[in-house]
């Protein structure tokens, strides 16, 4: 009787979540793999299998390669720049006050900076996109160009120049991301015992030395987590690019990334089969990235 009641309880608690999750999440994912082998357009009731044709076509698709290249740039630049800036600020905020009294302390006003830095993180990406579309405006009405003109420079077409547009988008992503990683790394730094810094400071280590010899090695795990997160965030640049650059990744595909192509192919061109093939590629890229990052950055853990 008691066993029965236990199993009833377990089943009752699991039934709805599992059903909901199966229908809306796992179902579509499984179907996506299936559809990637068809030429389905979203309307026909029967699926026609065409083998690996979609994947073969991807090889000759100029736009696909462009999206992949941009993706590569994002994947490399976004994590590196964000982690470096965030580490720098986190160090200043937590330990920048230098060794004083019992252990290290943060720089004056660190609470205020932390609150301000983190704020962009709570803004919706779509809102940030619209905001920066105005900030980047090519004439003197845009705040960046307005300032440039004031100082006597020519206005710059931040989102219009093909060589510049992707970098302008990446800058916005960094703008939004840094605060989160400052907080993340700060939490990591707070966990480092104060005696380590005291001992090193007694031995005459300066702040720069403290950072590279103590903080960084002891923070490796946190940085690694941050790295994976940023890599995955790079795959999600979708909303920002859609708002800032439209669904063709203007100018002329210079800012397009795989998610944008998937969305456009499925919902504008109704090529659901082809879009699913891109989705499958994206899936394997995401997994490869996560595994590679975790593998290559894994070293022996330093025990505190």
């Amino acid at each position: 009787m008691r066993r029965l009641r236990k199993y009833g309880f377990v089943a009752g608690f699991l039934a709805f979540p599992v059903a909901l999750y199966s229908v809306f999440v796992i179902g579509p994912y499984v179907q996506a793999f299936q559809i990637s082998f068809t030429d389905w357009n979203g309307y026909r009731s029967k699926l026609r299998y065409i083998g690996f044709d979609n994947f073969i076509r991807l090889f000759d698709d100029e736009v696909f390669w462009q999206a992949l290249r941009n993706h590569g740039i994002l994947l490399l630049v976004l994590p590196i720049v964000t982690v470096v800036i965030a580490l720098f600020f986190a160090f200043l905020l937590n330990l920048g006050g230098g060794p004083r009294g019992a252990g290290m302390r943060g720089i004056w006003g660190s609470k205020f900076y932390r609150v301000v830095f983190f704020f962009p993180q709570v803004l919706a990406v779509a809102v940030v996109g619209v905001l920066f579309k105005a900030v980047y405006r090519p004439d003197e009405g845009g705040v960046v160009n307005g300032a440039l003109i004031k100082v006597g420079f020519e206005p710059v077409g931040w989102l219009i120049e093909p060589d510049l547009a992707l970098w302008s988008v990446i800058a916005v992503m960094i703008w939004q991301a840094v605060g989160f990683y400052v907080v993340l790394f700060s939490a990591g730094m707070a966990a480092i015992p104060k005696d380590y810094f005291e001992a090193a400071a007694l031995d005459g280590a300066g702040r720069i030395r403290l950072f590279f010899s103590i903080t960084l090695p002891l923070l490796r795990d946190t940085v690694q987590v941050g790295w994976v997160y940023l890599g995955i965030a790079a795959f999600d640049g979708f909303a920002l690019i859609l708002v800032l650059a439209g669904n063709k990744g203007e100018p002329d595909g210079a800012t397009t990334i795989l998610p944008v192509e998937i969305w456009k192919t499925a919902f504008t061109y109704s090529k659901v089969g082809y879009a699913s093939a891109m989705g499958v590629v994206l899936f394997f890229l995401t997994v490869t990235f996560a595994v590679l990052t975790l593998r290559t950055t894994r070293r022996e853990r330093i025990e505190l």
């Binding site: 009641r5 999440v25 704020f119 919706a124 840094v178 499925a266």
Partner: protein, 291 residues
């Protein structure tokens, strides 16, 4: 205070590099803070400008305090409607996520039964898939269920896609709770369900708060799913869709102050909530990333 300054002055004398470095640190921090504050402040000020002022010098302050753009954004551009829709959707989807997520996580973390590990990994696997892979099929699943262009459909989809991380996070949390309390509740004659709601859930409060904040933010900011699932009916749109649309329309109708008012209107409430709860939000999101 005075003593403090003399002390730090003495310290600066002893190691002159500290002073310069300290100054540079402040400059760097201040620049980044300005990079964040200025665009937001500029948006806010631009909502009081006239069209001519907006196309003129960007660094000029508004000539007078015009409030009409705010009115237009609220009524004509439906920012009020979009906000209300978003609040309703996020309220129900986050409540649902927390209820079903904690139920599943609790059972998976604390009960032994055949298939437990399997179901746990079934949920956790959802974290590895990019949502874009599911997009096409998801649209047709929702269409066939007759839930397209409805808030109910969007809420159910939000819950479903929030479950993997919520279950993963909360299961880890429930595992750390002591067994003795649940046993005591059982001896006192509490049913499994009652033990869960009245004993275990309150104990898991810190974990629940973190993951609630994580889900509220994630669902409030969601843009992709509503774009796919709420296409036709503008009355049902959420704020992210609305803002992107207002931005497009502003180009045609040349109502730039209206756009900036709409932007300010969406940013301000978020800013107020953030300032009030910033400690919880930062630790909530941080904990979310570290688990």
């Amino acid at each position: 205070m005075a003593k403090d300054t003399t002390m730090s002055r003495a310290a600066a004398k002893a190691r002159p590099r500290t002073g310069v470095l300290g100054g540079l640190s402040h400059v760097a921090l201040l620049i980044w803070a300005l990079l964040i504050i200025l665009p937001l402040l500029w948006t806010f000020l631009a909502s009081f400008k006239s069209n001519a002022e907006i196309f003129g010098d960007a660094l000029q302050l508004p000539g007078q305090l015009r409030l009409d753009a705010w009115g237009r954004a609220w009524d004509k551009a439906h920012v009020g409607q979009y906000m209300l829709n978003t609040v309703v959707v996020v309220f129900f989807s986050t409540s649902g996520t927390m209820l079903f997520g904690s139920m599943a996580a609790y059972v998976l973390a604390r009960y032994r039964f055949v298939g437990n590990r399997l179901i746990y990994y079934y949920f956790v696997a959802g974290m590895a898939f990019p949502i874009f892979l599911a997009l096409g099929p998801l649209f047709f699943v929702v269409l066939q269920l007759g839930l397209l262009n409805s808030h109910v459909g969007l809420i159910l989809v939000y819950i479903a896609y929030s479950l993997p991380f919520t279950v993963f996070f909360l299961a880890a949390f429930f595992r750390t709770l002591p067994d003795t309390v649940a046993e005591a509740a059982a001896i006192d004659g509490a049913s499994h369900t009652r033990a869960f709601f009245q004993v275990m859930l309150p104990m898991a409060k810190p974990g629940l708060i973190s993951i609630t904040i994580f889900n509220v933010l994630g669902q409030w900011n969601q843009y992709l799913l509503p774009l796919v699932l709420l296409t036709d009916n503008k009355d049902k749109w959420v704020i992210t869709q609305g803002i992107a649309d207002i931005s497009t329309i502003a180009g045609y109708e040349a109502d730039w102050p209206g756009l900036f008012a709409a932007l300010s209107m969406t940013i301000l409430p978020v800013m107020i909530v953030y300032i009030v709860f910033q400690r919880q939000i930062q630790s909530g999101l941080g904990a979310g990333a570290l688990k």
